[in-house]
């Protein structure tokens, strides 16, 4: 902190506020302003016992009723479809491992982001499969062979040499077929035991050969170079953050995906927490709704405290609760009660629902403080 007046408040006020004061406030007023801000900051502090979880749930649940269901996002004419609205929120909070529309935003390092050869760079990211490069399939039933006529134009456009391609095919189909390459035609000879031979096996091989990975980043099915502000970046459909980070032209600091699990895996749980917040906030924002970030933060924190992503489901966050009755009141009550009986669990009744069940004060808000006093009995 530069300003001396702000020094003493360094531990008392959040850095964001201090920074704002420093930027906006003329130094003549500084002392008074900081003091005033500190006063307001203190009076805006949350009370102990406040049921922040419930308020957070309300704050996200209530606007949920106002969101539209099947909206696809069309920000600008040339961008891609992404699930938005309520389905997306549900997807994020469920903590689903595979999401409906994975998408990456790949930022590029300095020389590459100027737009030169952007298409070529983008093509390096896109996953190419053998099926895309084949012009014609020829099934030779007698010899159990498949002849793949290559689309040389496409090969050239993608900068793939036939030799490289053959290697890739060999790698991908090593256990199924013998690969031969002659004059623009790859022939696959079915390799299997006699009793499995036949048209079906051959057909299966054909289908499988289409899926053989040739090059690019696995999982990236579409690419779209976009100019944003002064630089070019690549938007992809399909996501594979780890592999993209390995590419040398990628700016790993800013490149991101909407797949939270991938973020957790590549960048750790803290990044995943931030990603949950960003993604939920993005949806709420595009719906034109207003929810304070603190509520979303709390949800993201409950999902990630354990060190891994837990969805807001009976298998995730709820299953971690200590109280049998609280778990039973959510879903599958019988299962929880039976398991509790087998383990001889004891419900200590220290959360909300159990106490509601037993008609006792709940340990949040005004139910939290207890008064201890000795009652003076009057002598007769």
């Amino acid at each position: 902190m530069v300003h001396s007046e702000l020094k003493e408040y360094e531990d008392k006020l959040p850095p964001k506020i201090l920074q704002e004061i420093e930027e906006k406030c003329p130094s003549s007023k500084m002392k008074k302003v900081v003091q005033k801000v500190y006063e307001e900051f203190l009076s805006a502090q949350i009370d102990a016992g406040e049921a922040v979880g419930l308020v957070g749930a309300e704050s996200i649940g209530e606007p949920g009723t106002q969101m539209t269901l099947n909206t696809f996002h069309y920000a600008g004419v040339a961008e891609m479809n992404v699930t938005m609205g309520l389905p997306r929120i549900i997807e994020i909070l469920d903590g689903r491992k595979s999401i409906t529309t994975p998408q990456m935003e790949i930022f590029l390092k300095a020389p590459y982001n100027k737009g030169k050869d952007i298409r070529e760079i983008a093509l390096q990211v896109k996953e190419t499969k053998l099926g895309e490069l084949v012009a014609e399939y020829g099934l030779n039933i007698v010899d159990l062979k498949i002849e793949l006529k290559l689309n040389m134009e496409k090969l050239n456009a993608l900068d793939v040499t036939p030799a490289y391609l053959v290697k890739a095919v060999e790698k991908g189909l090593a256990s199924e077929a013998n690969v031969k390459f002659e004059g623009g035609v790859i022939s696959l000879k079915l390799k299997c035991k006699d009793d499995e031979r036949g048209l079906n096996a051959l057909y299966r091989l054909k289908e499988k050969s289409k899926e053989v990975y040739v090059r690019g980043v696995k999982g990236v099915t579409q690419i779209l170079p976009v100019k944003r502000k002064e630089e070019f970046l690549i938007i992809t459909a399909g996501s594979n953050l780890k592999k993209v980070f390995e590419l040398d032209f990628v700016d790993t600091d800013r490149t991101t995906t909407n797949d939270i699990y991938e973020i957790a895996e590549a960048l750790g749980i803290e990044a995943a927490r931030q990603a949950i917040m960003d993604e939920v906030f993005k949806v709420i924002e595009t719906q034109g709704l207003n929810v304070d970030i603190r509520h979303i933060m709390l949800v993201a924190d409950t999902m990630t405290v354990s060190g891994e992503i837990k969805g807001i489901t009976r298998y995730g966050v709820v299953s971690e609760k200590a109280s049998v009755l609280a778990r039973a009141s959510f879903e599958t009550p019988i299962k929880h009660i039976i398991n509790a009986a087998l383990k001889g669990e004891v419900d200590q009744l220290n959360s909300v629902v159990e106490n509601v069940m037993l008609n006792q004060p709940v340990p949040v808000g005004t139910g939290l403080p207890g008064l201890i006093t000795k009652i003076v009995r009057k002598e007769k």
Binding site: N70, P87, I312, K343, E345, L349, V356
Partner: protein, 906 residues
């Protein structure tokens, strides 16, 4: 001593033993209570129950924990107060048979009878368990799975778990980890996996094992022989406690042999009360029916065994008994046909009672019903304060507030008693200090009046100024339940100020709302301090005002501040209508303008600067509106209303709500005096405008035709990552939307100030520019999922179009306006999108409801601790400071501390 806390133990095997922490919470010391204290112990006991009802909020004991476990046969017998031997229910006189299922030792459900176990009457006796001795033991279905696993993993000879001694420790830690990560079920499966890798011999006694399979639901087969429950039980008895622990079971609460039932607990009759039909016939509960079956078959089995019947017959009966016991616990098991009533409707047995939304847990335990509440249709009344609720007199006569009599209020309360229940401010009940509740009628009135003395409680009618909690479902917010002050009014509807419609999300098209009257001092205090409308002005969702002016109140203030110039006398009249008595703040000149009138309502020392909807500045200096027009951005609700937010910040909730009420009424009053109405003529456009619009739309159509042409010639410039067809679609959409928006510009230019529809739109009171365009110029493109309408027939949307027609008309562009009238094709397209929107809402509600329930359930026990951290019920830290800075959103300005404002103020 006072009544024990009722135990909830619904699954008979899984009984919840309630540990009682005998915490002597002293009863409140009031006069009556003290007299009581002195009276002898026995007398107290007699009174205690009535007293509990009268002053039920005293907590005598608190449940500190609930223990779960499997009941042992010993325990079942110990807690039973009767052994049930006969399936008969009643004798000829209709009196419960001894040893029958309705035995009076199990509690009473008939008025007049006394329970033989505890001696109390109907409603006082909570019921007692009984038991039956099963002739042959049966498997408890709910444990069928774990029984299978135990059979597979324990040795049939020595009973030890088949893990070699040397691997014991390693296996244990491995299992502990699995349980921690994946839960108890996975642990059990993991045990099985450990065993199965070992092969056919027991590592302890080297006995050969054979394969055990389960024939669902409850039959076990070893090799090709059936293992009877008796045999299973015998094997389980041999399993030592340490081995059970490996399984993740607690041998103290769940010995495996207890999972085979030898005795069956019979739930108390109070759990399964019979209903007497109008004809005088008795209709028994489903559980009683099922228990009757069990007892009957059990009896038959006993008899057959004693008579030495052939094994086949016994086996058959045994299986039947197993079936009945199984369906008694769960009537929804896939492999078994459900037990049915004679009518064919399946019986609701224990599992069905507990689970799902209508089950015991979610319906009766996690949600409760209350007395002292009312519900009717709501209607608006802007003359009521924002924190008031108009209660019809008929309701006020039924809802009561208890007031304790003391020396000083005696005369005041006597008045109510003498008025009785029929005459308005009267009273319905008098409660004696011993808890006896007496209804006041015309006959008992005199006696009650005589009797009244300090310590008595009078339940008097609801009166003006009482606190009430007002609620509208769905209660998605904490603002869906707010505390209002009662105003007793004539009429039959609950009345509220339209300004508080926003938080309740209420309108008056037939909505109904609920009213609750808190009955204790504590409840009233909490309601007033935490729930009153004033305290809920700022939403905890975004830190801005949720309550604000709506509709006419906004239009009124907009017109007033825009062009409301009037003679001073008229202004005084206007202000007097909104309860202003001090006119010194109104400049003394002949003509005053609207801004000056509006300023009268503002506090002297109020400074404010912001922008209106149109982007013009709104400036208030020292309580005078210097420039700008007041609209929804200043005084609206739901996250708008910035003027209200800063009033709240500076002058606190009470003052804000007063000012808001006055502003609201000023707006309405202005409209009342100057007239404000809207009609179809508001959507009229002058000829010139019409021509311009026609030309505009025509141009757009031509442009689109050109695009289609160039698409057909494949000359269209393709967007990156799109096909040409997609590009065309996007371009057409863009062009047509542009055309419609351009219509808006034309309308704006031609619209006049006195067009009230436009006034509503400009002020943000109601409607939008789009709706005006749709009514007067052009309805525009009907889009589904962000695309033009494509569905219908092959390559066309309707059979009246040519195949492959890409024109706007054929894909849902409605060129006409609503006022002009739309043609049949257009009408059809419009109804497509209309239906789509309808479906969207219908599908969204349950989805978002479920999301909300999950969120609430997962996070309900997070709270801020005294050290500022956010923790869950286990004390695990979720956040070190709430929201990283500990700021309460409801106390912030849009989630922040407004540094700029503070700088400006200083």
């Amino acid at each position: 001593m006072p009544k024990k806390k009722k135990e909830e133990s619904k699954v008979e095997e899984v009984v919840a033993v309630v540990e009682q922490k005998v915490e002597a919470v002293e009863p409140k010391v009031d006069v009556a209570e003290k007299v009581e204290e002195k009276s002898p112990e026995i007398e107290k006991q007699q009174y205690s129950r009535e007293r509990m009802e009268a002053v039920s909020h005293y907590i005598y004991k608190q449940v500190s924990s609930v223990v779960f476990g499997v009941l042992s046969p010993k325990m079942i017998k110990k807690m039973a107060s009767a052994k049930i031997v006969t399936p008969e229910l009643y004798d000829k006189e209709g009196y419960p048979v001894d040893g029958g299922l309705m035995d009076v030792r199990l509690g009473v459900i008939d008025p007049g009878l006394r329970c033989k176990t505890c001696g109390s009457k109907l409603k006082e006796c909570i019921g007692h368990f009984g038991y039956i001795e099963l002739a042959r033991s049966v498997v408890h279905v709910k444990y069928a799975r774990i029984i299978q696993l135990l059979l597979k993993s324990s040795c049939r000879e020595c009973g030890r778990l088949m893990i070699a001694q040397e691997k014991w420790a390693k296996a244990k830690s491995h299992l502990d980890r699995i349980e921690l990560e994946e839960g108890p079920e996975s642990r059990r499966l993991a045990v099985k996996a450990l065993i199965e890798s070992k092969g056919g011999k027991c590592p302890h006694c080297k006995a050969k094992q054979s394969k055990i399979s389960i024939e669902k639901p409850t039959t076990y087969i070893e090799g090709d022989k059936r293992v009877s429950p008796i045999e299973i039980r015998a094997r389980f008895e041999k399993i030592p406690d340490e081995d059970i622990e490996v399984f993740g079971l607690n041998p103290k609460t769940a010995r495996p042999e207890w999972m085979i039932l030898t005795v069956l607990p019979i739930p108390p009759v109070t759990v399964r009360p019979s209903i007497t039909l109008e004809s005088g016939e008795r209709s028994e509960d489903d559980l009683t029916h099922k228990l009757g079956d069990i007892v009957r078959i059990n009896q038959r089995l006993f008899e057959n065994i004693n008579a030495g019947a052939p094994e086949i017959i016994i086996e058959d009966l045994w299986d039947l008994l197993q079936y009945h016991v199984t369906t008694f616990f769960d009537n929804g098991i896939a492999q078994l046909p459900p037990a049915r009533h004679r009518s064919g409707q399946p019986l609701k047995t224990i599992t069905e009672r507990i689970k799902s939304k209508e089950g015991r847990i979610r319906h009766n335990l996690a949600g409760k019903r209350t007395n002292f509440c009312a519900r009717t249709v709501i209607s608006p009344d802007p003359m009521l304060g924002l924190d008031e609720v108009g209660v019809p007199k008929i309701i006020a006569l039924k809802l009561t507030v208890p007031e304790t009599v003391n020396e000083w209020n005696m005369a005041y309360l006597k008045k109510f008693v003498s008025n009785g229940p029929g005459k308005y401010p009267g009273a319905n009940y008098v409660v004696r200090p011993d808890g006896k509740k007496k209804k006041i009628t015309d006959e008992t009135k005199e006696a009650s009046l005589e009797e009244l003395q300090p310590g008595y409680i009078v339940e008097r009618h609801l009166m003006d100024g009482d606190v009430a909690i007002f609620n509208r479902q769905p209660s998605l917010h904490r603002m869906s339940m707010m505390c209002h002050r009662v105003r007793v009014l004539p009429g039959r509807t609950l009345r509220l100020n339209p300004a508080v419609c926003n938080p309740y999300n209420a309108d008056f098209d037939g909505d109904e709302m609920n009213l609750h009257i808190p009955q204790t001092e504590e409840a009233r205090a909490e309601a007033e301090i935490l729930m009153q409308v004033q305290t809920q002005l700022i939403s905890p969702r975004y830190g801005l005002s949720v309550i604000g002016c709506i509709q006419d109140a906004i239009s009124g203030n907009y017109l007033l501040t825009k062009l409301g110039e009037m003679p001073r006398e008229d202004a005084v009249q206007l202000l007097a209508c909104v309860n202003v008595t001090d006119f010194s703040r109104l400049p003394s000149k002949k003509l005053v303008n609207g801004r000056e009138i509006f300023s009268v309502l503002l506090p002297d020392e109020f400074d404010y600067e912001s922008a209106s909807r149109s982007g013009d500045k709104v400036v208030i200096r020292k309580g005078i509106l210097m420039e700008g027009i007041i609209d929804t951005k200043s005084i609206g609700g739901e996250g708008e209303g910035l003027l209200l937010r800063s009033l709240h910040k500076k002058f606190g909730p009470a003052r804000t709500i007063g000012i808001l009420h006055q502003i609201f009424r000023l707006g309405i009053e202005y409209l009342v005096q100057h007239g404000f109405s809207t009609g179809i003529a508001d959507e009229d456009l002058p000829q010139e405008a019409r021509e311009q619009i026609d030309q505009l739309l025509h141009q757009a159509e031509e442009d689109v035709a050109q695009m289609i042409q160039s698409f057909k010639e494949a000359k269209l410039e393709v967007f990156p990552g799109r096909t040409m067809r997609e590009t065309l679609e996007l371009k057409i959409l863009e062009r047509l939307n542009k055309a419609r928006n351009a219509c808006g510009q034309i309308i704006k230019a031609f619209v006049q100030d006195k067009n009230h529809a436009a006034v509503m739109i400009m002020s943000g009171a109601r409607g939008s520019m789009t709706s005006l365009i749709q009514m007067s110029a052009c309805v525009g493109q009907q889009a589904m999922r962000g695309k033009r309408i494509e569905k219908g027939y092959r390559e066309r949307t309707l059979s009246c179009f040519k195949r492959g027609d890409l024109s706007p008309e054929a894909h849902g562009f409605i060129i006409h306006s609503f006022k002009h009238g739309i043609n049949p094709k257009e009408f059809f397209f419009h109804s497509i999108t209309g239906r789509d929107a309808l479906m969207d809402t219908a599908l969204r509600t349950p989805k978002s409801g479920y999301l909300y329930r999950r969120l609430a359930n997962a996070m309900q026990d997070l709270r801020v601790e005294y050290d500022g951290t956010v923790r869950d019920a286990n004390g695990r830290i979720i956040q070190f400071a709430y929201g990283e800075d500990g700021i309460d959103v409801a106390r912030s300005e849009s989630g922040k501390i407004d540094v700029q404002r503070i700088i400006n103020e200083n």
